[in-house]
């Protein structure tokens, strides 16, 4: 192995009185692929920000290849040899792919002017060398899909020829083939003596890619070692700080027979092309299928957020879903996938975000009854253990998992009869996931029905009473009871030769 090394000792950083890092240590050697794991809010992002020069640590020492690493800007960090593929992506949407890949290291610059042709050629060569196909370097990044952007973010980091490559949740939007490509690149990088620091929520990815792992919890490292010595259960225990028996709660066997929601020929072309189904009271219906087969359109149509045709009956009354307001009035609530852009008003407080959804039930003649509001929110928030300083705190200051809980609190405060959950556990840590599952069960006990889409098949299998698999905007398969297995859902999603005859 090469002589490169990265050592972090006693790193501390606090933001406005909240300690994100409380003396974290980390040590990696050249040629290592090192996983950094932990729950949301464990300090991973902060550690990444310090290493990439985006924020400065309050105290502690970092040494890179035996020299002290003391930088005060992202540019200095890159020059010192640490390149980061950021989770939130650092690509500029309005600049071209080529400009983004070579930002600040353009191949030919004369008197401040960039030679566009040389730049383009360099970009073509780089993409070719990294084995990336089908991206025109002359097009702006805004035209690229999320997956392409994530691939480009990695290409950009590799292009800096760093000694440390940080990958912050690089796989969230990647297709399986793209994940394969990424892992190949990371292995090559490590074999050439580099240090790859890999941050991910997906334990199976870490196990297949990394050779070392460090677990963070509450801003400190609570365990570290070769991956072979850390079983999955041990890692989860370290992350949570307590042993976990089971993530998924037991399914109750009590089943109601009355139908709460009857959907007939619901369509919203071109994505959704006619779905007919019914949902019983207290039932959890999972929605599977490959990504982009009309799941989003189905959820948005049921929530009245896109125009649709067809008939939807909720609780015996036909609902005209022309606006989310109509859906909410009919007792249909939605937990969206992207909490930051669709679910929360980031500049409002926790209190306002929770009560926004049910203002009509706590307001009189247009004025909010603050004591009713408080009672309602206290109840909702206490059910969910939202980690926050107080109700007036801005939602933007909460961690991702806690933001998701605030949405849940708001939705639960509305006491919906049909709850739509669109990939609500994406990017959420194991602990919060378990809590969300528990809440789903509780809601069903109290008579709410849930329609939920998930990209995580394991989740569908363990939480659903029934599963529908969508393909090309229509229901391709209806699975019940013992039919609900991982392999069956995948087979039905993929279709073709893998698909078994139904019935």
């Amino acid at each position: 192995m090469s002589g490169g090394s990265l050592t972090i000792s006693g790193l501390r950083k606090s933001f406005g009185g909240v300690e994100a890092l409380r003396g974290a240590n980390l040590s990696c050697a050249g040629g290592e692929t090192h996983a950094l794991i932990g729950e949301n809010g464990a300090g991973k992002s902060t550690l990444v920000k310090v290493l990439s020069g985006a924020v400065k640590a309050d105290s502690g020492e970092i040494s890179l290849n035996g020299r002290p690493f003391d930088v005060s800007s992202p540019l200095e960090a890159q020059e010192a040899g640490i390149a980061t593929a950021f989770q939130e992506l650092s690509l500029i949407p309005d600049l071209t792919v080529a400009s983004n890949l070579f930002y600040r290291m353009e191949p030919r610059v004369k008197a401040g002017r960039i030679d566009r042709r040389a730049l383009r050629q360099a970009a073509v060569a780089l993409l070719e060398r990294l084995g990336v196909d089908g991206i025109d370097p002359g097009r702006p990044v805004r035209d690229m899909s999320l997956g392409q952007r994530q691939v480009l973010e990695v290409c950009k980091a590799l292009n800096r020829a760093p000694s440390v490559l940080i990958l912050d949740e690089p796989t969230s939007a990647l297709l399986p083939e793209q994940v394969g490509w990424l892992f190949g690149k990371v292995r090559e990088f490590a074999q050439a003596g580099g240090i790859a620091l890999f941050i991910s929520h997906r334990l199976e990815e870490i196990e297949s890619l990394c050779d070392h792992v460090t677990v963070l919890r509450g801003g400190v490292d609570v365990g570290s070692g070769p991956i072979t010595e850390m079983a999955e259960a041990r890692l989860v225990e370290l992350m949570l700080g307590r042993p976990v028996d089971r993530v998924f709660p037991d399914a109750p066997d009590r089943k109601s027979q009355d139908t709460i929601c009857e959907i007939t020929d619901l369509a919203s072309p071109p994505r959704l092309r006619g779905v007919t189904m019914s949902i019983k009271r207290g039932e959890i219906v999972g929605v599977g299928g490959l990504q982009g087969q009309g799941q989003l359109a189905l959820f948005l149509a049921l929530f009245g957020a896109v125009r649709s045709t067809g008939k939807v009956v909720v609780g015996g009354r036909q609902v005209r879903l022309r606006h989310p307001r109509a859906a909410l009035d009919a007792g249909i609530a939605l937990i969206p996938e992207d909490r930051a852009s669709d679910g929360l008003c980031m500049t409002l407080s926790v209190r306002d975000n929770v009560s926004l959804g049910s203002l009509s039930s706590i307001a009189t003649a247009g004025f909010v009854n603050r004591s009713k509001e408080r009672a309602m929110i206290k109840f909702a928030v206490s059910q969910l253990n939202v980690a926050m300083r107080n109700l007036r705190q801005d939602v933007a200051a909460l961690s991702g998992g806690n933001q998701q809980k605030v949405i849940l609190a708001r939705v639960l405060a509305q006491r919906p009869s049909l709850l739509l959950m669109y990939d609500a556990t994406r990017g959420v840590d194991v602990g919060t996931k378990a809590e969300i599952y528990r809440l789903m069960r509780e809601q069903c006990e109290s008579g709410t029905s849930i329609l939920f889409y998930s990209t995580d098949v394991v989740e569908l299998v363990n939480m659903s009473d029934r599963v529908i698999v969508l393909h090309d905007g229509q229901i391709r398969a209806h699975l019940e009871g013992v039919e609900i297995t991982e392999s069956r859902i995948v087979a039905e999603s993929v279709g073709g030769g893998l698909r078994r005859q139904v019935g």
């Binding site: 992202p74 200095e76 309005d94 960039i114 030679d115 702006p140």
Partner: protein
């Protein structure tokens, strides 16, 4: 379903969908050319003398020069997601000074000319520093400095008039190699844009306007770039003041105010995104020309002049609606 790859790595990541030549998000930047061509054709059909009569080109372009200069600066500022309302104050103050204190003749006028330009740049610097180092909105900062410099203009020259240097009057009229100077200046502005377009400076402005947080992660020196953009805007506004004052042969303590809304309108008609990240000074120049063609078209149609303002408002709404539709589509 396992996402983990086997021991073999595919050489190619994935085959992605093929690409079009022009990004649909860039369409707004082309629309101003369409507006200009359409209106020129319309005027040429109805009343060609308004555009190709004797001296018509020079007269029309001398209105374009100051607006195009101000729009150039406004575009740079808007790329960073800012706005510069103080251009009005800079032009007014410049005009007042040129009609009172800075009106020497011959070579003695050169240092005075430079003084005006430097002053414009410094005023822009000041805007930029306030905006870059505080979190005050550019709109508010430049609204305040506009008022301040208009106040200075009225202090220097309380009423329209004064005495303008004959050297400046001569310099802003006449032809060079058969073409009016005004045409040359507009061409020069377009050339400068062509050059600036490929600089790191411009990429940095786009990065800042596109996403300031990411720009910081990329190592862009944000305050410095903002100061430079506002300085350029102030400097170009001072150049506009020189042209306007020489052309009208008198100073005006509030002559700059009309350029504020006109420049914002022209830049937006040119397709520059008011929320930053996308823009072109060439398109803004076309926007300025389109904006100034409207009164000519109204005149050609034999309508009363108030229809000019009416249609200027209308084209602005049309352009903005079109741009936002395009943006909504290219995002979705």
């Amino acid at each position: 379903m396992s996402l983990a790859p086997g021991a073999t790595t595919p050489r190619r990541a994935v085959q992605w969908r093929p690409s079009l030549r022009i990004s649909s998000g860039d369409l707004p930047l082309l629309m101003a050319y369409v507006y200009v061509v359409a209106m020129v054709v319309a005027v040429l059909i109805i009343s060609p003398a308004l555009l190709d009569g004797p001296g018509a080109i020079g007269a029309n372009f001398s209105l374009v020069v100051p607006l195009a200069a101000v729009c150039f600066g406004q575009t740079l500022v808007m790329l960073t997601r800012g706005i510069d309302l103080s251009v009005g104050g800079v032009i007014s103050a410049g005009s007042a000074l040129l009609a009172t204190h800075l009106n020497a003749q011959g070579w003695a006028f050169v240092p005075e000319l430079l003084a005006i330009v430097v002053l414009g740049g410094l005023i822009g610097c000041l805007n930029g520093m306030i905006i870059a180092y505080t979190s005050i909105q550019p709109f508010i900062v430049t609204l305040a400095t506009w008022s301040i410099w208009d106040g200075v203009a009225f202090g220097v020259l309380p009423v329209e008039g004064g005495k303008v240097s004959p050297t400046l009057i001569n310099a802003t009229s006449g032809n060079i190699v058969g073409l009016p100077k005004s045409v040359w200046i507009v061409a020069l502005l377009l050339l400068v844009w062509r050059w600036i377009r490929s600089t790191r400076f411009l990429d940095d402005l786009v990065a800042i306007g596109s996403d300031e947080t990411r720009a910081r992660l990329l190592g862009v020196r944000i305050p410095r770039r903002k100061v430079q953009a506002y300085a350029a805007s102030g400097l170009l506004a001072a150049l506009a003041a020189l042209w306007v004052t020489g052309q009208t042969q008198s100073g005006s303590p509030d002559g700059g105010d009309q350029f504020i809304l006109a420049s914002v309108a022209a830049v937006v008609i040119g397709g520059t995104n008011i929320f930053g990240g996308k823009g072109s000074a060439a398109s803004s120049t076309m926007g300025a020309i389109a904006f100034l063609l409207i009164p000519i078209l109204v005149f050609a149609l034999n309508l009363t002049s108030f229809w000019g303002i009416f249609f200027q408002g209308l084209i602005l709404i049309i352009a903005v609606t079109f741009n936002s539709l395009i943006q909504a589509r290219s995002r979705g």
